[in-house]
Symmetry: C2
Subunit: 196 residues, 2 copies
């Protein structure tokens, strides 16, 4: 017995690719159907609306980030802010590189959700960013980081990390692991003391 929902996951994957490549608004329901070799109207046997498709991608990706960072912090037994920040950055990069299409749709297309759903995702993104911001503030308080505005530091790092979704290719020059290493380095240094 083929597991239920397999086709639905296939649809999500195709939609992620197209939304990533052309954007949500410029991708028609028929574009997605064509990539699946079915008729446009047939897609509605699986999904209630085009927006539901975007929502399932965005929602799942938001959860992937939350779970990965949660897990990474649980596994980081020390309370050294430097190591905890490294764990967050590494986890975030891993989620991005594991599925750059989904990640880039999450980062760039969520404004096309309904106002209600946008509010939900906005709150989750805020909470996610707050965690990073608080960690930076903690590190600053114990002298682990240089004087920096925690909000600016968190935004600087997060936008750089999310940028990976726009240029990463699995067959590129650098492996996902190497990229993660480099980005941990860059992020930690950006918050470090004495640079001249």
């Amino acid at each position: 017995m083929i597991e239920a929902g397999a086709r639905r996951r296939e649809i999500d994957e195709v939609a992620s690719e197209l939304f990533h490549a052309n954007g949500y608004a410029a991708t028609s329901v028929r574009d997605i159907a064509r990539a699946l070799d079915i008729q446009g109207a047939s897609l509605y046997a699986h999904v209630a609306s085009k927006e539901d498709l975007l929502w399932s991608i965005v929602d799942r990706t938001a959860t992937a980030f939350e779970v990965a960072v949660e897990q990474a912090l649980v596994e980081t037994t020390t309370d050294d802010p430097v190591e905890r920040l490294a764990a967050i950055v590494e986890a975030h990069v891993e989620v991005v590189t594991a599925d750059p299409e989904r990640a880039s749709v999450f980062v760039t297309e969520w404004r096309h959700l309904s106002p209600e759903r946008r509010a939900v995702i906005g709150a989750r993104r805020d909470a996610y960013e707050r965690r990073l911001r608080d960690l930076i503030a903690d590190g600053l308080a114990v002298g682990a980081f240089a004087a920096v505005d925690p909000a600016i530091g968190a935004t600087f790092i997060l936008t750089a990390l999310n940028g990976i979704a726009t240029w990463y290719r699995p067959d590129g020059r650098l492996s996902a692991d190497r990229i993660a290493d480099h980005y941990v380095e860059l992020a930690l240094r950006s918050l470090s003391e004495d640079h001249r």
Copy 2:
């Protein structure tokens, strides 16, 4: 006599706002016309196509970045890579904060240009990024920066800088100048030696 092209610039400004807020594909010609209090078809007395509107925004913004960085480097008489990098970062942030709508349209909507125009912009972006990459490589060679992959370092910094366009508000907590100062700090430190 009112200067020629004033109306055209007004159109560009309205289009920037709407493309920034809703994306190019989700913005109709009639949306733009409505914001100008004219009929949709009347817009074609001023522009040949919707894509031409996007092109003029993208082209002008690309030029703004190129000119600003060129100028900043000319004014930086020293060849100290640290100071030259600071000058580039500051100039880039200034262009972004001077017109975040245009900057964000430039960064995120250029994929909706025709293949020919996309190729032109792609080449200009590559050249722009290469300048930063080469500067990092130079600084690395003379020991001004920590060991880092120049391409990764340049991308890390540039994506963080471009991210400003997505969150910056002129009436926000931090002035454009303060943001530029912080970002220069963060960018320079990310390439600095010894962070533990």
